[in-house]
Symmetry: C3
Subunit: 119 residues, 3 copies
């Protein structure tokens, strides 16, 4: 069964299939911030989205990270490590792409796990 939640005009932000949660790409709302602030916004948005289905960012499985410039790497990782408990760090991959939209420095595409009922 597929459960789709948080609809927009072009997507559902959350799609649940079995015990796997697929999220739409998440970008920051305030794009005037530097990379750390933009990343923090993305991670908090993901956490909030996942909480609507009883999960949270500690259940992330894999995160595709798209940035516009790899020069942000150290700053990015500082914020990333600050956000996650080390034991809950997901698999991740970071690549620099051509364009994410005006002012957007980072976009995250996440897959997460639904907590098992009864666990």
């Amino acid at each position: 069964m597929i459960t789709r939640l948080v609809p927009t005009a072009i997507a559902h932000r959350i799609v649940v299939h079995g015990s796997t949660i697929y999220l739409a790409g998440v970008v920051p709302d305030d794009r005037s911030q530097p990379i750390r602030g933009q990343l923090r916004q993305c991670l908090e948005k993901i956490d909030t989205l996942l909480k609507t289905v009883g999960s949270d960012a500690s259940s992330l499985l894999q995160v595709l990270i798209y940035v516009t410039d790899l020069d942000c790497y150290e700053e990015f990782n500082a914020e990333w490590k600050d956000f996650f408990d080390a034991s809950a760090l997901p698999a991740r991959a970071m690549v620099a792409v051509k364009d994410l939209g005006p002012g957007t420095l980072v976009e995250l595409v996440a897959t997460a796990a639904l907590p098992q009922s009864g666990s």
Copy 2:
């Protein structure tokens, strides 16, 4: 169990594991068309591929959208919304990359669900 279907020289276009369907990246055949036509071709190819395993585009879970230019955003979304029933819109993420090959404006990488037997 893994079921691999529609082999090419370098991949299988469909790989099924449990009730999840992983598709190879889909690009348009006629690359002379503008973005709407290219996207329509991609979506129809995905639908056709999914139908070979008893699913279809209404069971898409997550779609990674690679384009060469975000300027196509409005045109892209017009075609996207025309294709999907609003209730079946998948999670999606769109990023602009450097190159998708000569003339190719869009590539879609999709994950979908296999209908449950008996449902």
Copy 3:
């Protein structure tokens, strides 16, 4: 249940959920090599990672391939076909991105299947 293995400072290289294995992005260690050597390193790293959970590269489901230049296509595919048994070729998608880091020509993001116990 989520099992996270092979931790780094910023991720786990392997995250297992149900019978699905999510890997972190894999890049070559020796970035002085041309595309074939870099790809071979990536594929061997993936195979080694998957073997730590009782799987291997023949159980790959989907591979996202990020390269810095599509001109490598023929060389890339020659190495790719040399590595895989034709019957085990995963679904794959290749796009050229802006930057993968100094000297890095290819990064692979893989999803694989855990062999079923008893099978």
